[in-house]
C-alpha cells in the first residue's frame, strides 16, 4: 500500500486509517459530523496527496489538452484553472479532473488517485500523434486542501501573496510558509471556500505544521475522507467511481456545463456528445431528498409508485447540515423533473423522496 508524506502525522493524531485507491489514508479523526461542521463553519485540512498530477508541456501541450478534455482549455489565461472531464471515446468518462493553465505550453492536470494509471495510459495513447511532453509527477507532489470560511485567515498568515485577490478557480505559484514554488489554488471539493496547495513531498511535514500552528486560534482541525464525501455530496459534486464512470456520459451526468462545443474544437466524442445534447438522453443524474427516515446508499434501487425500478443510487448519505437523507442517482428521463416523487428501496421498504435541484444546501 502507498502512503502520503503525511502518513506519520495522521497516525500520531489518532486517525482511523483505511485503504483508498491503493493509499493508506485517514478516513476519520474526531468524527464525521464534527469534521463536516468544522469545514462548513470554520476551517479544516484534508490530505489529498493521493491525487495524481500530470504535466503537459511543450509547443503541442494545448493541442493535447484541447483534444482530451470535454471543457475548452483554449480560452484559459495563465493562472486560471478549469474543471473538466476526459471522454473515453465511447461516450463514457475516463476521469474528471482540474486543468491548470500556466501558459499555452504548460498545463497541470490533477486527476483522481484511483485513475492515475488508467489516465496516464489514456493520455499517452492520445498523445501518440500529437507529441506533447508528458510527465507523471504524482509520486513527488503533496497536496493539502484547506477549506472553510476561515481558511483564508489562516493561510494569509503564511504568505505575502494577497489571498483575497486569488479569485475562485484561479491560482498563483509563490512562496508559502517559507517554501518556494507552492501552487496556491482557490479551488476545492467542499463548497465551503478555501484553497488547495501543491508542493513537493520533502516540504510536506513543514507545511502541515505551519498551517496548524497558524490555525490553532481559529480551531483548525484535520478532516478525513469520510467528511470529504459528505461535504461534496451536499454540494452535488460528482465522485468518479460513484456518480460518473466509463459508462456514464457527461451529458447524462449533468456535466453539460463543462462540455463545450464552441468554435469547432475537435475533441474526443464530440460527435456522440453533440448528438446526446441535441436529441436528449434517456436518463439523468439527479439529486433527491428523502421525505421519510432513512439513508440512501450506493447501489440501492430507485423505484416509482408502482414499485418498478427507475434507477439506482450512485451516492447517498445523511446530510449533517440538513439532518436529512440525501442522494444522487441516474433516473429515467420521465422521473427527472424537479419535484417528482420517487422512492428509495431501503431494506424492502419504499421510502418517499423528491427530485431536487443541486446543490442540496
Amino acid at each position: 500500500m502507498k502512503t502520503t508524506a503525511f502518513n506519520k502525522i495522521h497516525k500520531s493524531l489518532g486517525a482511523k486509517m483505511v485503504e483508498f485507491a491503493g493509499y493508506e489514508m485517514p478516513i476519520e479523526y474526531s468524527g464525521i459530523k464534527d469534521e463536516h461542521m468544522t469545514v462548513r463553519e470554520g476551517v479544516g485540512v484534508f490530505d489529498v496527496s493521493h491525487m495524481g498530477e500530470i504535466w503537459v508541456k511543450g509547443p503541442k501541450a494545448l493541442d493535447l489538452v484541447a483534444m482530451i478534455n470535454s471543457n475548452d482549455p483554449r480560452h484559459l489565461a495563465p493562472g486560471q484553472a478549469q474543471y473538466s472531464c476526459m471522454p473515453n471515446g465511447k461516450g463514457g468518462i475516463v476521469d474528471d479532473l482540474l486543468v491548470y493553465c500556466y501558459s499555452s505550453e504548460k498545463y497541470l492536470l490533477v486527476v483522481n488517485a484511483s485513475n492515475i494509471e488508467k489516465d496516464w495510459n489514456w493520455i499517452v495513447q492520445q498523445n501518440e500523434e500529437i507529441g506533447a511532453e508528458l510527465e507523471n509527477a504524482s509520486d513527488s507532489m503533496s497536496q493539502l486542501a484547506i477549506q472553510g470560511p476561515r481558511a483564508i485567515a489562516v493561510l494569509q498568515k503564511l504568505t505575502d501573496v494577497n489571498l483575497s485577490e486569488i479569485k475562485f478557480y484561479t491560482f498563483t505559484v509563490d512562496r508559502f510558509a517559507g517554501v518556494d514554488n507552492v501552487i496556491i489554488s482557490a479551488t476545492g471539493y467542499t463548497g465551503a471556500g478555501g484553497f488547495e496547495l501543491y508542493f513537493n513531498n520533502d516540504t510536506a511535514e513543514h507545511v502541515w505544521y505551519a498551517i496548524f500552528d497558524a490555525g490553532k486560534e481559529l480551531g483548525i482541525k484535520p478532516i478525513g475522507l469520510a467528511a470529504r464525501d459528505t461535504l461534496r455530496l451536499e454540494m452535488g459534486y460528482c465522485l468518479y467511481g460513484n456518480d460518473i464512470d466509463d459508462t456514464t456520459s457527461p451529458i447524462e451526468a449533468g456535466l453539460g456545463w463543462i462540455t463545450k462545443f464552441n468554435n469547432g474544437r475537435e475533441f474526443i466524442d464530440r460527435e456522440l456528445l453533440t448528438m446526446q445534447k441535441n436529441e436528449g438522453v434517456t436518463r439523468r443524474l439527479r439529486g433527491f431528498k428523502l421525505r421519510g427516515r432513512g439513508i440512501p446508499r450506493h447501489g440501492y434501487e430507485l423505484v416509482n409508485a408502482e414499485d418498478s425500478v427507475i434507477g439506482h443510487v450512485t451516492s447517498g448519505t445523511m446530510s449533517p447540515v440538513l439532518n436529512e437523507g440525501i442522494g444522487m442517482g441516474y433516473v429515467a428521463k420521465e422521473y427527472s423533473a424537479f419535484g417528482t416523487e420517487i422512492f428509495v428501496k431501503i431494506r424492502n421498504k419504499n421510502i418517499p423522496a423528491e427530485i431536487v435541484k443541486l446543490p442540496f444546501i
Binding site: E28, G31, I32, K33, A226, D229, T230, R293, G294, I295, R297, T317, M318, P320, R347
Partner: protein, 126 residues
C-alpha cells in the same frame, strides 16, 4: 477500549447483560467506534419471537449501515425508545443509556454460548 467484565459478548460486537430471564442487549464500545456517528437505530420487531442470529433491527451511521442480530433466541420484549430522539446515546454510552433491546430469553443454555470479556477482547485484538 472499554469492555466491562460483567457482560457477555457476541462475534457481531454486541453485549448482553443477564437480568434474571431477561437479556439486555446493545453494541460494544468497539462497534460504536467502528460505525462512527450513529444517525438512527431502527427496531421494528418488538413483540416478535426471534431465533438466535436473526435480525432484530438495523443501525444507520453516517457512513454505513449494519444489521443487529439476536445474541440469543426469545421475545423482543422492549426496545430503548430514547434512541428514537437521541441515537447518539449509542456512541456516548454504549453499555448504559445506549442499550437497544430486552429479550425474554427462550433457552437459558444459549447464554452459556456467549463470550466473556477476555474472549471478546482477544477476538477484537486478533
Amino acid at each position: 477500549m472499554n469492555i466491562p467484565a460483567d457482560l457477555k459478548y457476541t462475534e457481531d460486537h454486541e453485549w448482553v447483560r443477564v437480568e434474571g430471564d431477561v437479556a439486555v442487549v446493545g453494541i460494544t464500545d468497539f462497534a460504536q467506534g467502528e460505525l462512527g456517528d450513529i444517525v438512527f437505530v431502527e427496531i421494528e420487531t418488538e413483540g416478535e419471537e426471534l431465533d438466535k442470529g436473526e435480525t432484530f433491527g438495523t443501525v444507520e451511521a453516517v457512513k454505513t449501515v449494519s444489521d443487529l442480530f439476536m445474541p440469543v433466541g426469545g421475545e423482543v420484549a422492549e426496545f430503548n425508545e430514547a434512541l428514537a430522539d437521541d441515537p447518539e446515546l449509542v456512541n456516548k454510552d454504549p453499555y448504559g443509556e445506549g442499550w437497544m433491546i430486552k429479550i425474554k430469553v427462550a433457552d437459558a443454555a444459549e447464554l452459556g454460548e456467549l463470550m466473556d470479556a477476555d474472549a471478546y477482547k482477544a477476538m477484537i485484538e486478533a
